[in-house]
């Protein structure tokens, strides 16, 4: 199932590194290892892996800086591992360009699920690369026709306000990636005032009401409390 994806694991703690590499090996991924930030950058540029799993607290630097440097030349998916509970660190990493985050301790299933989501995004991006810009987005029962600015669920048109539509498109184009509150606010409303966050939540609630089969248990838009939202791929 892993189709020979190559994953770079950057983690200074030997036990956690072993846990992650063993898990990934068992599931058929090819794994490279790095212990420091500089080693990570070297591996990233020389090996060109398909995905990086990156610990934020590295002995010779901050993982956030690694992401920033990486993003200068590559858009490969990055999943951040963090022992810190603080939302601010996660948000900083996501804003720097990380796709997803995992807080230690995490379960093995959780890790594998996140890896799958990230790789699926990669696949999709590769499939679209070079081709014409995506005009129709399909995800489960949800369908967005970008050219007609029309959203349907199970073939039925969903009426969205302009802000809801913008929000949905933004999430859809980044399916699988966690988008922070700040990012969403900036992209949709052009502002990042903390006071606007409550309106963002309100729009998210109304949007969910329109597209989710059960808004109490959202299938499409996942909430990351204190961090942001993510569009999930629904089969």
């Amino acid at each position: 199932m892993a189709d020979g994806y190559r994953i770079l694991v950057v983690e200074d703690d030997a036990a956690v590194r072993r846990l992650v590499t063993t898990t990934l090996n068992v599931h058929g991924y090819a794994v490279h290892e790095a212990k420091t930030a500089s080693q990570a950058l070297l591996e990233l540029s020389s090996q060109a892996p398909d995905l990086a799993i990156l610990d934020l607290g590295l002995p010779d630097g901050n993982g956030v800086d690694v992401i920033r440097t990486l993003r200068e030349w590559s858009s490969l998916p990055v999943i951040v591992l963090s022992a810190r509970l603080e939302d601010a660190d996660k948000v900083a990493a996501l804003d720097a360009g990380a796709d997803d985050y995992l807080v230690k301790p995490f379960s093995v299933e959780e890790l594998l699920a996140r890896v799958r989501v990230a790789l699926r995004r990669l696949d999709r991006e590769r499939a679209l690369a070079g081709g014409p810009e995506e005009v129709v987005y399909e995800n489960g029962a949800l369908r967005i026709d970008y050219s007609a600015a029309c959203v349907t669920r199970d073939g039925e048109e969903v009426h969205l306000t302009p802000s809801e539509y913008k929000l949905l498109c933004l999430l859809a184009r980044n399916t699988g990636k966690v988008l922070t509150h700040n990012y969403l606010l900036k992209e949709v409303w052009g502002s990042a005032l903390a006071s606007d966050r409550s309106s963002l939540r309100v729009f998210m609630a109304t949007l969910r009401k329109k597209i989710e089969p059960d808004p109490a248990k959202p299938a499409y838009i996942q909430t990351h409390v204190g961090v942001g939202y993510r569009m999930m791929r629904v089969e």
Binding site: S163, S198, R201, V202, A205, A216
Partner: protein, 937 residues
């Protein structure tokens, strides 16, 4: 966790000891005041400025940062040549009545912040509109800002020597500095030159003198004068050294010596008495007390007299006096009593040369004092100011003619005469008429204000009696030997009775006034003691000040960094207190004055010497070491001032406020210290309990892992699986514990600094349910949130933790077939607003009353130590979890409650402040539609 607790062990000491240490450390740091060096001369031209500039060059060569703040421009050429190579701050050009004045630029120097600044002419009086009236005040501000100052001054500018020198030279100097400033200077260098050389210099034109003053100065620069001045200057230098030594010894010059009291009036001549008294106090090594007696006559002082009184009191304060206001009409008695009580042995009064004694045949103040003040030495300083003396005479006798008194007197006479005539008609004796005159005069006297009434009524009664009743009637003639005697008695009788009546009335007034003020003061005290935070302390003070002065008060409080908080204007009741007037009182200029007062801890504004153009008088509210705020009292125009007594009382109230504020600050500091200690204790208890609780799962994990590692194939598959599951479950339990501990540190790191934001309750509950115990999977968890848009203000992470803990707790106590319901709904509050109640209900056995009391205690696992009933498959309770939940909810301003549900089970619930999401939605819709319109247009 362990690191912090060991690292913070030091914190677990007595908070008082820590506090004391901090205060001491601050005090040690606090000596940042600049040092003052004075170049001191006995006359103009001795070369003070030259010496100062030379010294400036010397210190500059040593590497100090020296700038020239101000040098008199007309000094001689070789002095000016010394300016080369020194950085100069350009003087400020001030226009006053069309004349350009060059002034020292205080703000430029404060901005420049050199190590040393040179400021010539210490005693200079600044141009009107400057911040301070006097240059020495500028210098004091520089010193407070930590800048060292070099300055120059001549001996005749010293306040305390003013009279002495004036009597020698016959030149009175208007520009004076308080002796205190001179004595407190870090060093004084005497610039000395032989008088002969000085005269020679003057004659050879080396001393700059304006032409018109040349002759006058010629008379001044005589060998005799200069020698005398030189002697005074040298002696003053010597004095300064002894005074300085005493200061250093005693810290303050109070105690051992003999104390001196001076009676201060508005008389301009009294300054002489004040200076004499100050010099006496200095030489006796005693404290100086200036006494102002506030009598019923004081309120009749006109503005000019009030101004003079204030100036005299200020002078006394400048000279180091402690000002006391006494109340009563008998000045001598008041002074004598105070002196006796305070143990003051020297009383200095200005003596009016007995004029009053001559004019009225009454005892003078001095002789009254002689009689009343036993054991004190009375020093009478002659006062020469004659015009003022007549004023004093008039004032002292209360001889203020008012038309009202005349009319009252005439009415009294007319009434007595009319009744007398009626009595006479019914044939009663004339002696009754005489009594009548006396009684009516006495009765109406209680309504009169002054002694004019007494005089008019006495004369009028006598004349009227003569006219109407004395034979021959209806003439001013009288026959018979009796009449002159009767007239004399009537005159004296009415005069004496009415005088006494008037005086009694005044005394009653004065007593009432005093009582009222005492009441104000007592009330202030009481209210300030009751105030338990700074805002209420300031509010009470403002109210009391308004009660006392009946004028608007502006209160500024200082924040922790010493910046002014926005002012609060308190208007006097009855005044409209329109916005425009309070705007004027809080304009940026006014706030600037207040800020100056706060940072310098000195009064400023209207009626003071500093920043006099302000609309308010600003006084610092301070304790010994700290300024807590500034009170501004609105003053209308420069003539408007309140009495010395009110001022005294005002200062007392503000002082009291400062002390109360200090108490509050101390209490706060103490409380936070205690809280820290308490928290520390809590933390170490927590740590102990946790490490104990950690052992159990760790034993199981490491034991199981050990067995599995050394397994030689003896274990069955089921056994192995059981061990794997135990390891996994125990690890999960540890994870929950760690999450909870992290949450605790989140709250502890700053109890109130949690990041609260409006969040959708649905999202939060959903997120929480993703993380609940895996064992919950077996139970049914219902979510019941009526409104998708239900929003509440919270720190989402922490509330997620609360819900996780509550649900986990419910899971532990619910049999596997039981149901758990998480619900949220909005509650409207009676007092307006709304809150969201989130509750978690289970169908477990419920909680006994005994357990309910302790359920939120740390690590409480139920009364039996183990969960009861069917849920016994869980070995550990959620003690930490519930205690944490309660803390988190409390930090959010809510309360975590638990009650039993029917038929069984229990419900945990808590509330959070609600956000009106519907309003947000409609607002968002409106914005959205606006955008749509835009897009279409």
């Amino acid at each position: 966790m362990s690191e912090t607790s060991y690292g913070d062990f030091e914190m677990r000491r007595d908070p008082d000891a820590i506090l004391k240490q901090i205060v001491e450390a601050e005090a040690a740091e606090g000596d940042t005041r600049g040092k003052l060096k004075i170049f001191f001369g006995y006359a103009a031209g001795v070369g003070k400025t030259y010496a100062m500039l030379e010294e400036a060059h010397a210190v500059r060569d040593k590497g100090f940062d020296v700038v020239v703040g101000y040098i008199e421009p007309h000094t001689r050429a070789d002095t000016m040549a010394l300016l080369d190579g020194l950085e100069q701050i350009p003087p400020l050009e001030v226009k006053h009545r069309g004349i350009k004045l060059r002034e020292f630029d205080l703000d430029a120097v404060l901005e420049r912040r050199p190590q040393i600044v040179l400021v010539d002419e210490f005693a200079h009086t600044n141009a009107p509109g400057s911040r301070h009236k006097k240059r020495y005040q500028d210098v004091e501000e520089l010193l407070r800002a930590g800048i060292n100052v070099f300055t120059t001054v001549n001996v005749q500018h010293l306040e305390g020597l003013n009279d002495k020198i004036a009597s020698i030279t016959h030149v009175s100097v208007g520009e004076r500095i308080p002796d205190r400033v001179f004595d407190e200077a870090a060093s004084v260098e005497l610039v000395d030159i032989e008088p002969d050389d000085l005269i020679e210099r003057l004659e050879s034109g080396k001393i700059y003198v304006p032409d018109r003053a040349r002759t006058a100065l010629g008379n001044f620069f005589t060998q005799k004068n200069l020698a005398a001045l030189r002697e005074i200057a040298l002696r003053r230098m010597a004095d300064r050294l002894t005074r300085k030594a005493e200061h250093a010894e005693a810290g303050k010059r109070v105690g051992a010596g003999e104390d001196v009291l001076v009676y201060v009036t508005h008389d301009p001549g009294i300054v002489k008495a004040i200076r004499t008294a100050a010099n006496m106090a200095e030489s006796y090594h005693g404290a100086l007390t200036a006494v102002v007696v506030d009598s019923s006559r004081s309120k009749r002082l006109d503005n000019e007299q009030r101004g003079r009184l204030r100036a005299n009191v200020d002078l006394a304060e400048e000279l180091g006096a402690h000002v006391v206001t006494l109340f009563g009409d008998d000045i001598a008695q008041q002074i004598a009593q105070y002196a006796e009580l305070a143990g003051i042995t020297h009383i200095v009064v200005g003596n009016a040369m007995g004029l009053r004694t001559v004019a009225l045949g009454r005892e003078g103040l001095v002789s009254r004092l002689m009689k009343l003040a036993h054991g004190a030495v009375i020093d009478a300083v002659p006062i020469k100011d004659l015009p003022a003396q007549y004023g004093r005479l008039r004032e002292a006798t209360g001889f203020h003619p008012t038309m009202g008194d005349v009319w009252k007197a005439l009415a009294s006479v007319a009434f007595s005469s009319a009744v007398g005539l009626a009595i006479r008609d019914i044939g009663l004796s004339d002696s009754i008429t005489l009594m009548l005159y006396l009684i009516v005069a006495l009765l109406i006297a209680t309504k009169a204000d002054g002694f004019l009434y007494a005089v008019v009524v006495a004369l009028g009664s006598t004349l009227a009696y003569n006219f109407f009743f004395a034979v021959p009637r209806f003439t001013f003639n009288a026959y018979g030997l009796n009449y002159p005697v009767i007239f004399a008695f009537l005159l004296m009788g009415t005069l004496v009775t009415s005088t006494f009546a008037v005086r009694m009335k005044r005394q009653a007034e004065s007593t009432a006034r005093r009582a009222y003020r005492m009441e104000v003061l007592l009330e202030s005290s009481r209210r300030l003691q009751a105030a338990n935070d700074l805002p209420s302390c300031f509010r009470s003070t403002a109210e009391q000040v308004i009660k006392l002065l009946n004028r608007p008060v502006v209160m500024y409080r200082l924040d922790d960094e010493g910046h002014l908080l926005p002012p609060e204007v308190h208007d006097a009741p009855g005044t409209s207190g329109g916005d425009s007037s309070s705007d004027k009182l809080t304009s940026p200029e006014e706030a600037g004055v207040a800020a100056w007062v706060a940072s310098n801890s000195e009064r400023a504004g209207a009626t003071t010497d500093t920043l006099v153009n302000a609309r308010c008088l600003y006084l610092p509210i301070r304790s010994k070491d700290a300024v807590f705020g500034v009170a501004g009292i609105a003053i209308d125009g420069n003539d408007d001032d309140f009495g010395a007594f009110e001022k005294n009382l005002l200062l007392m109230i503000l002082d009291e406020c400062g002390q109360a504020a200090e108490q509050i600050a101390f209490a706060n500091e103490r409380r936070s210290m205690e809280m820290r200690v308490e928290k520390e204790t809590l933390r170490s208890n927590l740590l102990r309990t946790i490490s104990h609780d950690l052992r159990t799962p760790l034993t199981s994990i490491s034991g199981d892992a050990d067995i599995l590692l050394h397994d030689d194939g003896a274990l069955t598959k089921e056994q192995k699986e059981g061990m794997y599951r135990d390891i996994h479950d125990d690890a999960r339990w540890l994870v929950t514990l760690v999450e909870n501990l992290l949450s605790i540190t989140r709250i502890d790191n700053g109890t109130m600094q949690i990041a609260q934001q409006p969040e959708l309750v649905g999202e939060v509950v959903h997120e929480a349910l993703l993380h609940v115990d895996r064992r919950a999977e077996a139970r049914r968890i219902d979510v019941n949130i009526g409104d998708d848009l239900l929003m509440a203000v919270m720190d989402a992470r922490l509330i997620v933790q609360v819900i996780i803990n509550l649900v986990n707790n419910a899971v532990s106590y619910t049999p596997s077939e039981g149901r758990i319901t998480v619900s949220a709904r909005e509650e409207r509050l009676v007092e307006g607003g709304a809150r969201v109640r989130i509750s978690v209900a289970d169908e477990g056995p419920g909680i006994s009353d005994e357990d309910r009391e302790h359920i939120f205690d740390l690590f409480y696992n139920g009364s039996t130590g183990k969960p009861s009933g069917k849920s016994g498959d869980f070995k550990r309770g959620m003690g930490l979890g519930l205690s944490l939940c309660r803390s988190i909810v409390e930090v959010h301003g809510g309360k975590l409650e638990v009650r039993n549900a029917l038929p069984h089970g229990c419900v945990f619930s808590f509330t959070l402040p609600a956000v009106d999401a519907n309003a947000l939605v409609s607002e968002a819709r409106r914005q959205d539609e606006g955008r749509t319109e835009e897009a279409r247009g």
